[in-house]
Symmetry: C2
Subunit: 220 residues, 2 copies
């Protein structure tokens, strides 16, 4: 199965700008991408990064598996993914978001092992964090409550739909509150990256959060 | 398997006090409890509610399955659960939080079907949302990052531990941001309860949220 990983190389993780500088967000986004690619490779598939601009395979991306290929596509997410969905008789396509820092090979295998025409791992807030499409009758729409929109698109097309129930695939890392999940459950480089930036777990009585203990000098 | 559902009958969902009145929080907590009990029953198990005070089986709890029993225990969560963990040779015990409004029979079956000495479905922020204990060598500690604490307790006791990877079991409903998950994915009474209160989905460009469109008169 071809596994597509869309990556916004130039505008990484803008909703983390309150807690990370631009260069930190770039490093962190690349560390999460590296973790996702390693998990897909370990699950036995060859990932294709669909990046908005060329990627340099150094730093956080230095040791990505050799199975990884890159395609440059500067279109919006929906258009870039739609262009890669299967034609009639074509192979299934999986689409895995680049910020699923908790993804493990086992969690991804539960997605790849589905057999419905469309399988979706929903994320927080109605997102579509990971997807498998096995039919030419489906198209994507990542705007808004994409999970509900994708359910509706599948229903109208008369194709079968399966929900993949995974905490790991359901956790995309977009907002400061998500960082704690990376520190607790992240299996790869992303939690090390946050610890390098000075983040650690803190407990305020309710849910545990991620607190920045050291605050490196701000960028100009 | 005995399935224990702890329920704080008198102080329901205090972290929702910014968006729901006390009587609404009580109704909503009871609706979520009813959903959890129905899912456990449909998964083929008999739930025991361990409540801090007597429960009236009317309103949201009117149609709970006849398999439900209630025990009153006003101790703190950790003590009330610890007192019910299996003795040597005793039957396994599952502990399922009363605010898992997204729980389905299938998600619970993935928990009950584990065979490790201890199986944990982690929640957001390091919580322990659902648990199966099959050994007398384990005790619980729900304070702080209970997921990490429970992993450490299992490791020190030398018992086997399995993580149950479920978005549905990983979503406990504590904070206003969690309400959107109930509206999108809740299978039972809880989303109807929120809609009765005037909540609906709204999209602000990032993740979708739950917005209160009508605001009933505040309680005195």
């Amino acid at each position: 199965m071809q596994v597509v990983v869309p990556f916004a190389a130039e505008t990484p993780k803008t909703r983390l700008e309150g807690v990370l500088t631009r260069s930190e967000r770039l490093r962190f986004a690349r560390a999460m991408l590296a973790d996702v690619l390693a998990a897909i490779d370990a699950a036995g598939h060859e990932p294709t990064v669909v990046s908005t601009s060329p990627l340099s395979f150094d730093g956080e991306l230095e040791s990505v598996p050799s199975s990884v290929s890159v395609e440059i596509d500067d279109r919006a997410l929906t258009d870039a993914v739609d262009a890669r969905l299967p034609d009639r008789g074509g192979d299934p396509i999986a689409v895995v978001m680049a910020d699923l820092a908790l993804a493990t090979p086992a969690a991804l295998e539960s997605l790849f092992a589905t057999d419905a025409d469309v399988a979706i791992a929903p994320g927080r807030g109605g997102g579509t964090n990971a997807l498998v499409v096995r039919t030419p009758e489906f198209r994507v729409d990542y705007h808004g409550t994409s999970y509900l929109d994708h359910c509706e698109i599948a229903r109208k097309a008369g194709v079968s739909l399966e929900e993949v129930d995974s905490f790991r695939l359901g956790t995309d890392v977009d907002e400061p509150d998500d960082l704690v999940e990376v520190l607790i459950h992240g299996p790869g480089r992303a939690p090390d990256c946050l610890r390098t930036f000075g983040f650690a777990l803190e407990c305020d009585g309710g849910r545990v959060g991620a607190e920045r203990l050291e605050n490196p000098a701000k960028e100009p």
